[in-house]
Structure formats: structure tokens, C-alpha cells
């Protein structure tokens, strides 16, 4: 076995450092597809409304069980709250996606 070439060793060290730096900069992520984004918004919005309505329905059922016929007051109220939560979720998802895209754009700029 011959002695290692110092130039090649230095080169390897440099490449390892570079790779470490690249890794520290952030995980490599697949970019969000248009379909994926649309799907995320749709599920967030629909799920919130369904969960809100469901919660209200449950509360109504509970009150009805104990002799207070509140149906459908809570269901209507929670349906609206659920819609509000849905909008909130969509806005949060949009900010998340925006930062994701911005981070991706910054990274490609660096690479250039």
C-alpha cells in the first residue's frame, strides 16, 4: 500500500467540510406540488367544518341526554366556529407553504 497523496487528502477534507456545511443549511426537501397544496387546503378546510359540526352535535346530544333539548343550537354555533377554525388552518398552512417555498428559493439562489 502506497502512502496517501497529501493533495488528495486535503481535497477530501475540503469536500467533507463542504458537505457538512450543506447539510447544516437544511434538509433537502421535495418541493410542494400544486396538487399537494390544493389537497392540503381542501382537507384542512373540510376537516375543520366537519369536526366543528360534530363537536356541536355531540354537545347537543349530551345536553339532550340530561334533559335539555338544545338541539340544534350548539351544532349551528360550532359549525360556524368550525368554519372559522378552517379559515385559520388554511391561513396557517399558507404561511407554512410560503416559508417552505421561500427557503427552497433561497437555497437554489445559493447554489447558483
Amino acid at each position: 500500500m502506497t502512502a496517501p497523496d497529501p493533495d488528495r487528502l486535503n481535497d477530501l477534507g475540503r469536500r467533507v467540510d463542504e458537505a457538512k456545511k450543506r447539510q447544516a443549511a437544511g434538509a433537502k426537501r421535495p418541493p410542494p406540488t400544486q396538487m399537494g397544496i390544493a389537497g392540503r387546503f381542501a382537507t384542512e378546510l373540510v376537516a375543520s367544518v366537519v369536526v366543528g359540526g360534530g363537536l356541536g352535535w355531540g354537545i347537543d346530544w349530551l345536553f339532550g341526554h340530561f334533559g335539555f333539548p338544545t338541539r340544534p343550537v350548539f351544532m349551528i354555533v360550532f359549525f360556524m366556529l368550525g368554519s372559522a377554525a378552517g379559515i385559520r388552518n388554511v391561513m396557517r398552512t399558507a404561511t407554512e407553504i410560503n416559508t417552505e417555498i421561500a427557503a427552497g428559493a433561497a437555497k437554489t439562489d445559493e447554489e447558483k
Binding site: G39, T43, S48, L81
Partner: protein, 253 residues
């Protein structure tokens, strides 16, 4: 020959007799159970044997295992920081299980475990349970301030309700996203496959036209492979985002 595109999602017992009973319900060993066992065994065995040699210069299978390890570790690190790495085994298991289920479902004649809402909802409930337990263990009762946004006092009660509902939404949106994506993709494949059969059976010029949907199936198949990976990735990253909120209350706002 008209086939029902939803037939592929039917759950059938493989063993005639129920295995045992829980609360008066018969528990059968179904095609779904079989696929779940296959997925769990295959991924566990593959990962174990792939890293066993522990070579400095990895073989192909070893580097596959190492790449998936690093991929998940990176996801957790970027979404939940160093503290999140404690949850690596949990997130990694989830990611690999969802990924392998999606990929095993791509085999013709196989069964897609993740196209069943029961499976995805169970996975998502597990995630939310871990998040809630972690939050309460780490912050005690202060974890409930997750539902208190920064806002004037007079609209706080309303906002807290909305935040609470928004939190309750998580298991639903997490599970429905995975389930709907897999269900839609596989239904689409079956529908186009049905076109090929009925066009081919029509005879004459129509039989020649059946090459169209055939080519489309190839394209959709490729798309589905992407979706299979992407959905596993989304499931893992959302788990990390939720864990992050439980670990670092309000840090991100």
C-alpha cells in the same frame, strides 16, 4: 366485462373462522391484516439485515437504509430541532410503515393498507396522543396555553374555542389526506384499466384506441409512485410540526 373500481378496497377475511372476539365483535384475519404483517416484517427485516454488515463503504442496500435514516433525521431536525430527535424511533417507524404500505400497494393485485380510513385514523390518533402526552409531561398544565393566542382579552374566549377546534381537526386532516390520496389514485388506475378492457372488447377501430388509456395508466402509475413517497413524507413532517408545538410552546409565533 365491467369491474367495479372500488372492489380493490374490499376487506375480505382470509381465514374462515374468526381469530378471537373483542366485546362481542368477531376479529378476522383479513387481506388487510396480511398486508400489514407483510409490510411490517419486510421493512423490519430489510432494515435490520441491510445495516448488519456495517461496512464503511456501504453496499446498495446498506446505503438505502442509511439514506432513509438521514432523510428522516433531517426532517425531524429541521422541523422540531435537537429535542425532537428523541422521537426519532417513533417518526421513523411511522414514515417507513406508511412508505412501505404505499409502495406495496402499488403491486398489481396487492392491497393498499393506507387506503383504509381505519388504518390512517389509527396512525393519526397515535400521533396526536403522543403529542398530547409529551406536551403535558413537558409543560404540565401550561400546555393548555397552546389554545391561548396573543389577542385582546374580549375576543380571547372565542379564539380559544376556535384554536381548540383547530387542534381537534389535526387527526382528521392528517388521516384524511393520506387516505384520500391513496384512495383517489388507485380508483383512478382502476377506472382507466376498465376503459382499456371495454374499448378492447368493443372491436374494430375502438380496439385500436384502447392503447390511449393504456399509456395513460403508465403515466398515472409514475405519478402514483411520487404520491406514495410524498404522502409518507407529508405524514412524517406534519408529525414533526405537531411534536414541535408540544415541545416548544409558542416559540414559533
Amino acid at each position: 366485462m365491467a369491474t367495479n373500481p372500488m372492489e380493490q378496497f374490499a376487506i375480505k377475511p382470509l381465514v374462515e373462522n374468526p381469530l378471537f372476539q373483542i366485546g362481542g365483535h368477531d376479529i378476522y384475519f383479513t387481506n388487510q391484516s396480511l398486508l400489514m404483517v407483510i409490510v411490517a416484517l419486510a421493512s423490519a427485516l430489510f432494515l435490520t439485515f441491510a445495516v448488519k454488515p456495517g461496512r464503511l463503504v456501504p453496499t446498495r442496500s446498506q446505503s438505502m437504509a442509511e439514506i432513509s435514516y438521514e432523510f428522516v433525521a433531517n426532517i425531524i431536525h429541521s422541523a422540531a430541532g435537537n429535542e425532537g430527535l428523541k422521537f426519532f424511533p417513533f417518526v421513523f417507524t411511522l414514515f417507513i410503515f406508511v412508505l412501505c404500505s404505499n409502495f406495496f400497494g402499488m403491486f398489481p393485485g396487492s392491497f393498499t393498507v393506507t387506503s383504509q380510513i381505519a388504518v390512517t385514523l389509527a396512525l393519526a390518533s397515535m400521533v396526536i396522543l403522543v403529542v398530547i402526552v409529551t406536551g403535558f409531561l413537558k409543560h404540565g398544565i401550561r400546555f393548555l396555553t397552546l389554545f391561548v393566542p396573543k389577542a385582546p382579552i374580549y375576543i380571547l374566549p372565542l379564539l380559544m374555542l376556535i384554536e381548540f377546534i383547530s387542534f381537534c381537526t389535526r387527526p382528521i386532516s392528517l388521516s384524511v389526506r393520506l387516505f384520500a390520496n391513496m384512495l383517489a389514485g388507485h380508483t383512478m388506475l382502476a377506472v382507466f384499466a376498465g376503459f382499456v378492457v371495454s374499448l378492447g372488447a368493443a372491436g374494430g377501430i375502438l380496439s385500436v384506441l384502447s392503447i390511449g388509456p393504456m399509456l395513460l395508466i403508465v403515466a398515472i402509475m409514475l405519478l402514483e409512485l411520487l404520491v406514495a413517497f410524498l404522502q409518507a413524507y407529508v405524514f412524517a413532517i406534519l408529525t414533526c410540526i405537531y411534536l414541535n408545538e408540544a415541545l416548544h410552546l409558542h416559540d414559533h409565533h
